[in-house]
């Protein structure tokens, strides 16, 4: 979105359900519980929802399935599927739809039971024809090859990758909602089972159940709700490929583009951001996105995260809920970057609540570093 839409919409409710293990529930059950939680947070009813923004890991028409399950007949639907970034992307379309009067209450929602249903990533997508015969393990092989190239070009080390996981766990240890809260050291990460060189199982996101939901309204009525509104100041998407073999430079993501446009729309720069919530499917993601979003120069991401610099008490708070590495990762994590950023701004984060947060960034990743969406959220003070 452009500066024209800056601050036109606000998040007035967030909710989640089924974190960790949601035994006996379907993905749509978890989706619906999340929707109820977010509507309750906003003091709204299901009948108030007239805009639905949803996709799921299963089915070819998941937004219709969700509307049917919830018992609503929305007048605006966006089911764009760009992987885990979809839910950050919906901030743009929801803002547009709200601003244009196409809907008055936008519900962004997701749910998954992938852990208790199968124990592994569930996906409806087919393996790409020109990659499938080589049996890459999706999605880890793609991220492992990006990590290997980054190490080759910039001297990034496995220790630095490990420090991303250690920092995520350090945040998660304070978050009662996080799934993995035990201690984790650099040695634990390095010594864990190698899954796809150079990444061990501790360099990889969790496989959990869980769902999340966000309720948005136009800014002009955003102060009429129980919780402090969180405004969408900027959001922008960029995509560079679908199959990893088509990614031009494995060390540079389209986040460079999505970030630049989101910052431009919001009228702020990386140094203004007080909390950074990134889609950390693998430890290399955090390093790539910190570089591409402008928090450090290309190639310096390894040094930037080293030795607790993005952990509690470090120089930049990154993934303050514990991220996909330690908090929750139900197939698609994007919505949780927005929820944690919003809660940090509202002042009701479940784990470590940072002081006086007015500006936070949420970044979604989809596919295999394919789709990048950056959103900048702000408090009333930033309007």
């Amino acid at each position: 979105m452009t500066a024209q839409l800056r601050g036109k919409s606000a998040i007035v409710g967030t909710g989640h359900a089924g974190f960790g293990e949601a035994y006996g529930l379907t993905s749509y059950d978890v989706m619906a519980q999340s929707a109820l939680a977010a509507l309750g947070d906003a003091g709204l009813k299901m009948t108030d929802v007239d805009g639905l923004f949803c996709t799921m890991m299963e089915d070819s028409m998941p937004a219709l399935m969700a509307a049917e399950y919830l018992g609503i007949q929305p007048r605006f639907i966006d089911g764009t599927m760009s992987g885990g970034s979809s839910f950050v992307n919906y901030l743009t379309s929801a803002t547009m739809a709200l601003d244009a009067g196409l809907c008055d209450v936008a519900l962004i929602v997701y749910g998954s039971n992938q852990r208790t249903a199968s124990g592994k990533l569930v996906t409806a997508s087919r393996p790409p024809a020109y990659e499938a015969p080589y049996n890459p393990r999706y999605p880890i092989s793609a991220y492992a090859m990006a990590a290997a190239r980054h190490m080759h070009e910039y001297g990034t080390t496995r220790e630095q990758l490990a420090d991303v996981a250690v920092a995520a766990r350090a945040w998660a240890r304070h978050n009662p909602e996080a799934f993995e809260r035990g201690p984790l050291t650099r040695e634990d990460v390095l010594g864990a089972r190698m899954v796809g060189d150079p990444l061990t199982v501790r360099d990889c996101c969790l496989v959990t159940d869980g769902g999340g939901a966000i309720v948005m309204v136009r800014a002009d009525r955003a102060r009429d709700f129980p919780k402090a509104p969180v405004y969408v100041l900027g959001s922008a998407a960029a995509s560079s490929h679908r199959q990893i073999s088509q990614m031009k430079d494995f060390t540079v993501t389209a986040a460079r583009d999505s970030g630049a446009r989101s910052f431009a729309a919001a009228g702020v720069s990386p140094s203004d951001i007080q909390a950074v919530e990134l889609y950390d499917a693998f430890t290399i993601n955090t390093i790539l996105f910190l570089e591409d979003l402008g928090f450090c120069a290309k190639g310096e991401g390894g040094a930037f995260v080293e030795g607790g610099r993005i952990a509690p008490g470090g120089v930049l708070p990154v993934n303050t809920n514990g991220g996909g590495l330690s908090c929750v990762h139900p197939g698609m994590y994007g919505i949780f970057t927005v929820i944690e950023a919003a809660r940090q701004i509202r002042g009701d984060a479940p784990g470590i609540q940072l002081k006086d947060i007015d500006l936070a960034l949420a970044h979604g990743n989809g596919g295999v570093l394919s789709s990048q969406v950056t959103a900048i959220l702000g408090s009333q003070n930033t309007l």
């Binding site: 024809a129 020109y130 015969p133 080589y134 890459p136 990006a146 060189d197 073999s245």
Partner: protein, 125 residues
Amino acid sequence: MQDAKGPDQFFQHALANGEISLPMCEDCGAYHFFPRVLCPHCYGAAISWRQSSGKGRVYTTTVVRRKPEHGGDYNVCMVELDEGVRMMSRVEGIAPGEVAIDMAVTAFVGEAEGVPVVLFKPSEG
């Protein structure tokens, strides 16, 4: 190859005959991969086929770890051919962990998952 209508069919038919053919744009002269009906560089639709030199370098690589009873570890990598295109593949003839970035490799037509595919081996010399 008279039966091969589309670009994917053409590529697969050539592979089945032991040849690695690459699509090249007649308008801008650039190669592309995967095969398609237009050039992704200039969008020209006049595509011709050229036999690949088979020479390339490993752009990046990983080892997929797999239990020995399921067949053991194997290599997955990206190879950049001298023609300027990149493809996913596997380097054979050396241990999967010995495949290194920038290693010079040579293509051959092998088989994977029951279909002919482009594989690579370390170049000699």
